[in-house]
Each structure stands twice: as C-alpha cells, then as structure tokens.
Amino acid sequence: MTDIIITNIEVVPGRTITQHLGMVQGNTVRTKHAGRDIMAGFKNLVGGELIGYTELLTESREEATQRMVAQAQAIGANAILNVRFSTSSITSGAAELFVYGTAVVLE
C-alpha cells in the first residue's frame, strides 16, 4: 500500500501537482454501547473528560480517513489536499464523522 500524503493546505510544498482528480470523501457513523452512556451520565455530575466518547470519536476519525484514502487510491491518486473534517450528531448517542479532500497526483 503506497503511502498517501494527506495535508490540509492547498499545496504540497516542494512537489508539483500533475493531475486533479476531484473530491474524495470518507464517513462513518458510530455509537458507544449503553454502558458508556451510563458512565457519561454519571460524569455529568462531576465533570471532566468523557474518555469513552473521546475514544469513540478518535476511532471514527481514523476509520473515516481510511475510507477516504481508499477512495483516493481507487482512482489512482497519491495525495489528498485541503482535507476538512466535520462532526455532527445524527441521533442521540451516535456521531457521524465526515472527512473530505481533493485527490491529486503528484509527480
């Protein structure tokens, strides 16, 4: 698996872009199980980091990025520029994580 360059600026410094291949996206919708929800409920009393949910969103982000990379590789790109992340809550307890960027071929 060739290493794909992922960046969120317009260019890859020092490299030239030979082709633009359009937008690629990756997304995932995940939820934590009931046990974590209950723990989060308790945390609402005392405050502090909700480790369960942090893990949830981290996993989601990694998976969404992987899917975006899969799309880029399928069309022959070797870099993804101007990557943006977007998180939204689709339904109570579940979060959708969405990554998108422009797939390009560097020389």
Partner: protein
C-alpha cells in the same frame, strides 16, 4: 401483545418501503453522476491562474428522512455499540445527492469546475421521542468555467 404487533408491522413496512426507496434513489444517483461527470469538484481554493471567466457560488442541499426500520436498528445498535450501518447509507445518499444538486446548479450557470467545496451536515430533530429524524446536507462551492 398489541404493542408488539404494532411495532413489528411498522418495522416491516419501514423496511420494505425504506429499502425500495433507497435502492431507487441510489440508482438515480448513479445515473446522474454519469450525466454530470463533466462537472468536477475540488476542495482546494486556488483556481488555475490566470483566470478571466465567470465565477459564481453553486449550492445544493437535501433533507432525507429515516424510516422506521432504521430507527429501530439504530436504537438496538446504541445498546450494543459500534458502527451504525443503517445510518451510514442514509448520510451517504444525502451527501451524494447534495453534491449532485450543487453540480447541477453549477451546470445551469454554465460553470463546470467547482472549487473550495464545503459540506455541512445537520440533523433535524435528531429523531427525539415522537419526532421525525432526518439528515440535512448542504454542499456549496465556487463554480468556475473550464473554457472561459
């Protein structure tokens, strides 16, 4: 007992009509993606220089509702944890539809390259008790012409 029967009937109706709807929508999406293949989308902001043609904002948005089967499925999934497969196909549909509508908007204006594309997702009412759950996706970008 009566509650269970109602629940089951609604779930079955939701599944049958929901998956029919979804398949039809995906077929339409694939068709239109082919017809609109001339319009490209990029998230980069720097357009090809020098540029002397027209440039205008192009937008597309859509609101898609969940069906009852998806609701139940997501509810069960929230007990167990993990990926909510039912909702993934929902947001995928919504996103691709929004991007297609944005491309159609650009084409209507005679533009065929859209730069600085941004996508915004929002959940309408989040499917709270007794209310409709729906997903809204807005796609927007600046359209430029390949041949000014």
């Amino acid at each position: 007992m009566f509650e269970v029967i109602t629940l089951l009937t609604l779930t079955v109706i939701g599944y049958i009509f929901g998956s029919l709807n979804e398949r039809r929508h995906f077929r339409s999406i694939l068709e239109r993606e082919e017809t609109l293949r001339g319009v490209s989308t990029f998230t980069t902001r720097i357009p090809p220089q020098p540029y002397s043609g027209a440039s205008h904002l192009a937008t597309g948005n859509v609101v898609i509702s969940i069906d009852y089967f998806k609701k139940i499925s997501a509810g069960l999934r929230s007990l167990v944890g993990g990926r909510v497969n039912a909702y993934e196909s929902l947001v995928e549909r919504a996103r691709r539809e929004a991007v297609l509508r944005m491309k159609a908007d650009a084409q209507r204006q005679g533009l065929d390259m859209i730069f600085n594309v941004k996508l915004e997702t929002a959940s309408i009412t989040k499917g709270a008790k007794g209310q409709i759950g729906a997903v809204e996706v807005l796609a927007y970008g600046t359209g430029l012409s390949r041949t000014p």
